[in-house]
Amino acid sequence: MSPFAPLLAAVLCWTPVSEPVDFTREVLPILKRRCFQCHGPRRQEAELRLDLRSGLFGGPDAEFAPVVPGSSARSDLIALITLDADDPDRMPKTGAPLEASEIETLRAWIDQGAPWVEPPRSQTDPVRSEAEVARSIAALREGSAHAAARPVDFGRDIRPLLAENCFFCHGPDPSTREAKLRLDLEEGLFAKRPAGGRVVVPGEPSRSLLIDRITQTDPDFRMPPQRSHKVVDEEQRRLLVDWIESGAQWQQHWSLVPARAVEPPEPASDWPINEIDRFVLARLQQEGLQPRAEADRRTLARRLSLDLIGLPPELEDVERFCADDQPGAVERLVDRLLASPRYGEHMARFWLDAARYGDTHGLHLDNYREMWPYRDWVIEAFNANLPFDQFAVEQLAGDLLPSATLGQRIASGFNRAHVSTNEGGSIEEEVYVRNVVDRVNTVGTVFMGLTVGCAACHDHKFDPLPQREYYQLFSFFNNLDGSPMDGNVKAPSPIVQVPTEEQSRRMETLRGELSMLEAEIARELSGLTYEEPNLPWPYDGDPLETHVWIDDRLPPGAMPQGDELLWCEAPRDRVHTGRFSMKRQGKGSRQHFFANADRKLRIGQDDLLFTWVYLDPADPPREILLQFNADGGEDWGHRAYFGENLIDFGQDDSVERRRLGDLPAAGRWVRLEVPAALVGLYPGSVVHGMAFTQFDGTVYYDTVGIESRTPQEPEDFAWIDDDVPSGGERQGDGSTWNWVGRDQVKVKSGLRCLKRKGGGGLNQDYFINAKPLELHAGDRLFAYVYLDPDDPPRSVQLQFNNGNWEHRVRLGEEAHGAGREGGADYRAGDLPPSGEWTRIEVDLASVGLKPGERLNGWAFTQVGGTVYWDLAGVRTWSPPDDRPLHSMLAWEERVRGDAMLPEPVRAALQLERSKRSPEQARLLQDHYLRFIFAGTRQVFDALESRVEDLTAKIQATDQEIATTLVMRERTEPRDAFVLKRGQYDEKGEKVERETPAALPPMDEELPRNRLGFARWLVDPGHPLTARVTVNRLWQQLFGTGLVKTAEDFGSQGEPPSHPELLDWLAARFVEEGWDVKRMLKRMALSAAYRQDAEVGEDLFRRDPENRLLARGPRLRLDAEVLRDQALSVSGLLVNELGGPSVKPPQPDGLWFAVGYTSSNTARFMADEGHEKIHRRTLYTFLKRTAPPPQLSTFDAPSRESCQVRRERTNTPLQALLLMNDPQYVEAARSLAERVLREGAGAPEGRVDRMYERVLFRRPDPATRADLSRLYREALEIYREQPEEAVALVRFGAVAADPALDGAEVAAWTLVASTILNLDEVVTKS
């Protein structure tokens, strides 16, 4: 900020003010409202008092004058209030800047000479005498109708009040702290203030500044200030007064103090069944309320079943329960339910909301994520009643447990279940931080009930968690040994495989078969011997042929480089053949060269490279060096020289610099010869370029070439002809790899060709994972294509895989993978003519490939039409050489150093033949005979195809085995830093792993890692974990937790309705070994839970949310329970435990409407078959960016983030779903059929049976009448319009029972649907 800015602002904004400004009426209120708080009698920030004349006009030193009468431009007050908003010195420091009109008033006042009048004390100093405060207190008391019902409790009554109204400015966060005052700490609350007095004086409210400040009559001085929009109302003020009067007992925030099991009260009543009831009743009696009687047996049976296993009971079980008049009937029922495997499923679904489990990644592409083994682990853990402490430890750190079991590793997926992304353009560090933050926040919510996430960006404003401590927690979770990006794959590492028993068995069998086969192969091999064929080389005996490479010009495609190349012409100059020769003249090292010629030299056995030279006798060179470039890259390491050793390239006496003799005689043309092998050019090598180097002198070069038996043209190497190459896995759209023979079409090559009749859009045949085909410089990829003239495609395309598929060449208009980020999509022209075989050929660069890369897959793609493909491969100067098939020596030469070979074979090959051990020699020979040698193919090909077959099966089984995401630590822990404002790239101070200081310290014995952290969480002395957990169990049964904010036990959460009960339960939970079933049983058996749910008008008025528990729970069922109930009562439910998620039908297009087009979950395809579509809702596939409407319509979370409490809404969309969703209609019909099959009878009897099947009791007569009438009306309609009946009965995925009368079924379906929509049915009561 420029020092002139205020001045400038003053000039610009100055307007003459004619009216004189009145100090008392106009100026003083501004000063009072905006300045005196900090610069008044209470506080003298910067030792400045603006309420005194001396301060206002003088200031603490002469340098500084707030007001200079007559000159607003020189007054620092004006300067400071007109600074930029983001200037840290701008006044006032809190609240909005002064209004423009206020500034104008002050300016005008100063410019008018700043007349000052002594302000009355009440305007400057809000300190009141003790008597005045006492009067305020008395006034407060007067307004109170009755005395406090119960003693004030700091934790229950006072701390929440302070937290809500005061902590923002006087709490843990120093950045917003005012007046250096902390009311969240005991020291702060009872502190002596610098300006005198104490905040709270126990027993003396009238001497407590707290009371003074909240009872100020002047709103400018009253706390909390107006700008905070907070109000401490009269009732709350009275509470504060009462609390101070009664001695001002202070306690730590309740949830941070370890739970203590206080003795349950003993209210005089025989209502209580267990300790829970004694707490509940004591409270009810305090409130003057009576509990309700126990609900009737049938209601109770349904409630217990829905709450403990998430399913309605079987009618027969209810009858048995009702008939059981022995004591302990309820307990027996509860035990039965807790022993059911359905219990674990029901419990799991609550946990999965908290663990944010989903079947997709949740961000961007939102591809499939395979993680259901984790879901199944949770189910099994609940069914096995795994103690909760263990349950927690295994999920937080199962991977770190000593000799962790598979189950424990699966459990550690809890910390991997967060949403993840692989969006192109993402910055890895940012994503990494986001993932860790999600882990920390989720652990905070689920186990600690703390909103730790607030402290990611700044110190927590309400709870004792500084930002630094947040990042200490962060450092426990930041060490995943895997990429933060999910790669869009279903199993981003680290993962584990989770085979089923059947899969393990199958794997064992297959491996057994494979080892037997290996034994058979070994037997075959042991009977074989190999002799190196003493045969001539295949080309031996043929004469070498001369091929000229350079004469009169460089080979096609070659660009001369280096020193300027001079072609000189005959007859003026010396030329050996043709018209021109190359001439070079100069001092020192001189050269010209070229590389990457289109025409290359192919090297064979015994080949000789030659160059004709003419040395000028008047100016002879001292050295000539010929260099050859192999393989087109930087490989110039093939040199031969003649003469002195002056040119410094390569290592002496190696292929890099081979001396081949003296310089030839000058003055005549001489042929320099270089045997290829001497300079490291072996059969199969390809020469792409050449360099001519000389030291001093004048040299003519002409007629360069090779003597070779190898044809010097590129060849077509057929990679795909009649079949895919070895190892290739055939895939594609629809019916794939449809080979047709000569009988159907003229084949281009071999016996058959590929035919594809394409649908409307893009479709293809392709393979991947073939044995790689190495690409060389100058290679061109090709394939033959034949378009059906009667059904031509819109376009055809070849696509190549070198690890990815981003390499395409296309003919025709339709773009296929156009514009895929980073991919080559090369349009080579229009569609070829149809009715004939056309060759498509493309160079590597056009499709984004490079020499040295390897292809392992190839796709034949088309849009529409009928297309034939044949003979595809590479046109190359370096075709694979087949001599190794006949000679082991040749093979050894070829494959030495091949990294793909098994390690022992590779090691043996490294040794010279004579140095190999007999075992190594044998190993090599076995390998050669088994896999390579042409003479033994007949024996081994058959065996190998069986090996391949078995290996494929093993691989397929391996692929089939489910995987799940787990945690694994990096060996070197990753550093953690405080991230300023939570920004991933703004690292602050480095931090170490520590638990928050406000909680009990971590045992020294514990390891400083996630495992130690997890053990610390479940230490019996930890104040939060047990409380938070039993509270969720309570919430599950009673609908609302004892702490309503199940996710927040901090000072902004709601305090518990029954704090002693919560503590008692938490303490018992720990004492009893974190036994979840036992805790649930205790709750379920309590009289409080068993009460009748009738609400009643008075009670509703008194306690609308039923926090006092004077009645039983009555709540709408959760999404999952609703659907499971409908499936269960209709007899459709398939009770199978675990396995991959299923996709019951949902309306078309829900995924596609939002999905990324190339996501693998872009299109929803419903499963088919009763056994899949009627599983429990827990198993429904959850796509997180478009969750199933059956879930989201009924408040189930999308699982994008952790949620431990659901809302319960009541909307028309729910009504539409329950009435019209085909699955619900189908359930109604099945229920109708079920009742119809159960026997004939009057409609009333059937109504009774149907109603009973759902609600387990008979309807009242009016209801029976209503439903019977509906049946009769409907039947009449369906009898008249039988086609309507058929339509209704046929609706849904499961066939109707043909034995039943259609109109009957339809009419009863309507009745059943009505019942399934009844308030009582969608509600537990």
Partner: protein, 493 residues
């Protein structure tokens, strides 16, 4: 709702039921839902009487009662549409000066590029009279160009997110991570509905003709986050039932359904008598509303009553369900029926490569429909209290992604500036606000953060963004984040 108010209303409801008035049907039930009595009178004002919402809202007199947000998902290129930079033409293929980029972070799609060659637009721009200084519009948006007098074009919107998922989540919900209420959910929560037969917040997803491999949308973009699920946007579908499960199953006629609901209502009423749970009453009312929606929604989506002139206005696409133009027409019908907020999503604007192939198609998709919507609203007198916003989640780079030729180029994501426009309900028409540098890279005048944009939208609807909050995990959650956003008063009347 305050439980005591609820209890008092319950009193009324009980008396109502004791009189056995269920047969009175919809009007009485509407009353149950909390409608003002005057609402039933049928006056035009009463047509838009409010159901639900917060009692303290609006905070001040709104200039718009409802709003339409035309969301261009994928991020339209500002250089080729509104932000005209003539001096770029001479700098074809020159490097973006480092003094302009200033080390700004890039997506990893182009951060590895060896150079950042400037790609001037290949489309012609013209200055159109907007009643003040004129506005430049590219030839790709010929219809939009004709209505610049109605628009406030803002060229200086900016954000921090540089990838689609976080950015679109950010502008729609105020945060980059999932889990927070969307703009429409806030409006439903704060202002309630003006038509008890339709949801307060409706979402329309459109087909598109540009780049087909388009960025995803997510249900969270119209989700309720930490608000109750009844505030989430209802996506009207162009295929199948417009509202999920709206249609009765085959074989269930309206009469049959009515009889079923009568029986259901009677039985539920007795349940209420016995149990006294007010939720039962709400449930009865919701079933009745569902029944009414079964007629009101098909009536809404049936365009057959629209005139020929209207179809001419919106263009031939308007007859194809699911196109942007058809959705614009539907949006107008929604506004007429008192729907509070409608968001139309149009995908396919992510032109990393081959911009000249795809962008013209994208523009053609939306140009006529958006223009027709504004004109149609105006003709019907609805524009003055209907706010319309057009824009995407961020901008695109001035430099080329991938190969640059005279005729082909692509643009990467650019968070530092992009262009949107607003019109109607309280918006100052015929102005251009904000300015970017000669490269269309940095903002040089009047920056508008996306939080400011959202605050401005809320402001038009009578809401102070800083005061519309709910408490979640102890802290106030707002659409516009922690620091106080600035209402862009310059674009308001």
């Amino acid at each position: 709702m305050n439980p005591f108010d609820e209890a008092i209303r319950l009193e009324t409801r009980r008396q109502f039921f004791r009189r056995g008035a269920l047969g009175l049907g919809t009007a009485a039930l509407a009353h149950l839902l909390g409608r003002d009595l005057q609402a039933a009178s049928g006056s035009p004002e009463a047509r838009f009487a409010r159901v639900g919402g917060l009692p303290e809202l609006p905070h001040f007199a709104p200039t718009a009662k409802r709003a339409i947000y035309l969301f261009m998902a994928g991020a339209p290129a500002q250089h080729d549409t509104f932000d005209y930079k003539p001096s770029l033409a001479e700098r074809f293929d020159q490097d973006l000066p480092e003094s302009v980029r200033m080390g700004q972070r890039l997506t990893t799609m182009t951060s590895g590029q060896a150079r950042f060659p400037l790609a001037p637009t290949i489309y012609g721009f013209q200055r159109y009279d907007n009643g003040s200084d004129g506005a430049f519009v590219s030839e790709l948006l010929p219809c939009t160009a004709t209505m610049v007098k109605d628009l406030a074009i803002i060229k200086s919107v900016h954000t921090e997110a540089i990838n689609h998922d976080p950015a679109i989540t950010y502008i729609c919900t105020g945060r980059q991570l999932p889990g927070w209420p969307s703009l429409g959910a806030w409006l439903s929560y704060g202002l309630g509905s003006m038509n008890e037969n339709l949801p307060a917040f409706v979402v329309l997803n459109s087909t598109w003709t540009g780049r087909q491999d388009a960025q995803a949308l997510f249900n969270r973009l119209w989700g309720n986050g930490v608000l109750q699920s009844r505030h989430q946007g209802v996506a009207l579908r162009s295929k199948g039932d417009p509202v999920l499960f709206l249609k009765d199953p085959p074989g269930v006629s309206r009469t049959t359904r009515r009889r079923m609901l009568d029986a259901l209502g009677r039985i539920n009423e007795r349940t209420y008598e016995r149990q006294g749970d007010p939720e039962t009453l709400t449930r009865i009312a919701q079933y009745e509303m569902a029944f009414r929606m079964q007629s009101s929604v098909p009536e809404l989506t049936d365009l057959s009553s629209e005139s020929e002139q209207t179809f001419e206005l919106y263009g031939p696409d308007a007859r194809k369900p699911g196109t942007f133009a058809a959705n614009c027409l539907l949006a107008r019908r929604l506004m007429e029926r008192g729907v509070r907020f409608c968001q139309i999503f149009h995908r396919g604007w992510d032109q990393h490569f081959n911009l000249p192939t795809d962008l013209p198609n994208q523009c053609r998709d939306v140009d006529q429909g958006a223009t027709a919507l504004i004109q149609d609203l105006k003709q019907r007198g609805l524009l003055e209290d209907t706010l319309v916003v057009w824009g995407g989640e961020f901008g695109r780079t001035v430099y080329c992604q991938g190969p640059l030729t005279r005729t082909n180029y692509g643009r990467d994501h650019h968070p530092k500036c992009f262009t949107i426009w607003m019109a109607g309900g309280g918006v100052r028409p015929g102005i251009v606000h904000g300015e970017t540098d000669d490269f269309g890279y940095n903002i040089v005048r009047d920056p508008v953060h996306i939080n400011d944009l959202n605050a401005t939208i809320l402001h038009c609807l009578g809401i102070d963004a800083a005061r519309l909050s709910v408490k979640h995990q102890g802290l106030p959650v707002r659409l516009t984040g922690v620091s106080k956003p600035r209402v862009v008063s310059e674009v308001l009347l």
